[in-house]
């Protein structure tokens, strides 16, 4: 546990300092944090043994809510847009969850994928409303009532996102260690027993699903603001796959994992884009293989070390 905090704190310090040293990185770091938030949502579900290939849905949904509201000058304010859009995604998760928590394993994964792809297709189809594949522009809203220039907007958005990410991570860490979190893990290890303890595994999963939808939604809302443009691609299955990728890359052992993974992902992708613009997919793929084979518990596990096994034996 203390290690978890240590890693988290180290990551935090690095993150706080970095933009001050290299201003152009703020947007990329903010994007990484947003993806980290979505991957954190995936981590929650992974604890229940469920893999979602459709969390792009929540990511994209809140991003579009932001885009529409900002375009309509409804609540043209970051501090309004973000919570409203996140809640909207939460609402969708609450609806979809009603039906999706009945399914497990491949069915769970594929239904999520199906629903997100339906949304993706709609975003492309209804192009008169959504702008189709070209997406929508998101005009820059005010922040705390102030109209900011690009640079300071980006600067503040980064620190706001960082703060939100820290809060989210701490909450998720608490939740996972609580009885509810353990019940969630129980879905993975033995649902029969869970039912025979009088606990509804669907309810437990529903809660987690809602949480994961909110986390992905939060990430999506912010990414819409900082990149200033939304496209259906946010809901595409490959994007959802990336969240899973990031979660595993970072390691699901602790809540700092997804953020580590997202940073690493951005860094690798950034370098690959510079040095191998034509084969950056392959570079990412190879990196992923390296991580899986040489550090199967992800970056987090790499840093935290294989404490668990040996610690257990020592007792």
């Amino acid at each position: 546990m203390s290690r978890q905090y240590l890693i988290g704190a180290g990551l935090l310090i690095a993150l706080v300092a970095f933009p001050l040293l290299s201003p152009w990185s703020t947007v990329i770091l903010t994007v990484a944090l947003c993806e980290g938030l979505a991957a954190l949502g995936i981590l929650v579900l992974l604890r229940a043994g469920q893999v979602s290939f459709g969390h792009g849905l929540y990511f994209a949904f809140s991003a579009y809510v932001v885009a529409f509201m900002a375009a309509a000058h409804l609540g043209h304010e970051v501090l309004l847009l973000v919570p409203i859009a996140t809640a909207a995604s939460g609402l969708v998760a609450a609806l979809v969850g009603l039906f999706i928590v009945r399914y497990r394993a491949i069915f769970f994964g594929m239904l999520n994928l199906a629903i997100s792809m339906v949304f993706f297709s709609l975003l492309e189809k209804l192009f008169s409303i959504t702008g189709g594949a070209d997406g929508k522009r998101v005009p820059r809203p005010t922040l705390l009532g102030m109209t900011l220039e690009r640079e300071s907007f980006e600067f503040w958005m980064f620190y706001i996102t960082l703060a939100l990410a820290v809060v989210a991570a701490l909450f998720v860490a608490r939740y996972l260690a609580s009885s509810g979190g353990k019940a969630l893990e129980a879905i993975k290890s033995n649902e029969t027993r869970l039912e025979y303890l009088g606990v509804s595994s669907r309810k437990v999963l529903y809660g987690a699903y809602l949480l994961s939808g909110l986390l992905a939604g939060l990430g999506g809302a912010i990414i819409a603001l900082v990149s200033g443009h939304v496209t259906p691609e946010l809901a595409y299955w490959v994007r959802s796959g990336e969240f899973v990728f990031i979660a595993i890359l970072g390691g699901v052992g602790g809540v700092a994992g997804p953020f580590l993974g997202a940073l690493m992902f951005q860094i690798i992708r950034g370098y690959a884009a510079v040095y191998a613009p034509e084969t950056w997919h392959a570079v990412l793929g190879i990196m992923l293989l390296v991580i899986i084979f040489f550090a199967p518990s992800g970056l987090y596990g790499l840093i935290a070390g294989r404490r668990r096994a040996s610690g257990e034996a020592a007792r």
């Binding site: 009945r102 594929m110 709609l122 299955w237 490959v238 595993i248 793929g285 992923l288 293989l289």
Partner: protein, 297 residues
């Protein structure tokens, strides 16, 4: 009208079936949802098209394309599929299932770029085999025999062949046993490692065969694999875990559904596979064909 749509749906559904059944088989036996499956499809298509073009360049007769399809499918299955299984997947059986999935995701990304490097980005096609078989006329409309007859026929042969193979042959039964309990199967003298490799190769070859067959009808561009993979996922989930008959029914439903949509509701065309999947799972949460569950308590 409906009949005409059904004819188109049949051909399309057959092609999806070929690819999806390979995915289903791999999933059923190895428990791995193979994201790279679409790449096998794409590579199969590229290799077949290149082979057919090369053969034509050497002045060989067109009919040779059909054995070439088979050869390139098996070649891709053995070389690419075999390598992926033996070099990568094999090292992480028994670990978290997500990891296996991610390995295939990584392979998918690598193969996508590998295709570009090897085959280029310009669309490629080799339609001679399709034209060679000529057309048939149904109600005054011309269909290519290739799409109307050959592809569904191949799908049917694969379906029946696989069923027979899994149920009636010793090797097929060994595969089924490994599916259920790898360790117990080994204690029965079954070489699980070989079975995994073999199954993966069969699955990959089927995807490649689908690709090879499609290379005569469609033009190959970067990214054809990822379109196919989502469809196969939809089929596999609709079918029920690792069910071959289920894959056939689901693929056909999707093929027919899509054709019907083009006629009656073009707006829903792309949504069809997902809507079918959601609808089926709403009614039958375990998929079209459920597998026998071992008693747990």
């Amino acid at each position: 009208m409906i009949l005409l749509a059904a004819l188109d749906g049949l051909a399309y559904g057959s092609l999806i079936f070929l690819v999806a059944v390979g995915l289903s088989l791999i999933f059923g036996v190895l428990g791995v949802l193979n994201v790279a499956h679409g790449s096998f499809y794409a590579i199969g298509a590229y290799v077949a098209a290149s082979a057919v073009l090369a053969a034509a360049g050497m002045g060989l007769p067109t009919w040779l394309a059909f054995p070439l399809f088979l050869v390139s499918a098996v070649l891709v299955g053995v070389v690419v599929g075999g390598t992926v299984e033996a070099l990568l997947l094999r090292r992480i059986y028994g670990k978290e299932e997500v990891l296996q999935l991610l390995v295939t995701f990584a392979v998918f990304m690598i193969l996508e770029d590998a295709q570009k490097v090897v085959f280029g980005t310009q669309p490629l096609f080799a339609n001679a085999p399709m034209n060679w078989l000529g057309t048939v006329e149904v109600f005054g409309i011309f269909y290519t025999s290739y799409q109307l007859i050959l592809i569904p026929l191949v799908a049917l042969v694969v379906l029946l062949g696989l069923r027979w193979f899994l149920r009636r042959t010793r090797f097929g039964r060994a595969i089924v046993a490994v599916t259920q309990d790898r360790e117990a199967a080994m204690a029965m003298g079954i070489d699980a490692t070989r079975i995994y490799l073999f199954t993966f190769i069969i699955g990959a070859s089927l995807a490649a065969l689908g690709g090879a067959l499609s290379s005569a009808t469609t033009s190959l561009t970067p990214g054809i694999g990822s379109g196919m993979i989502v469809l196969s996922f939809a089929v596999a989930a609709t079918a029920g875990l690792g069910r071959i008959e289920g894959a056939a029914v689901a693929a056909l439903m999707i093929g027919l559904g899509r054709s019907a949509a083009v006629y009656f509701a073009p707006e829903f065309d792309v949504l069809i596979p997902y809507l079918i999947m959601v609808a089926v799972l709403l009614i039958k949460p375990e998929g079209l064909f459920t597998t026998v569950q071992t008693r747990k308590v």
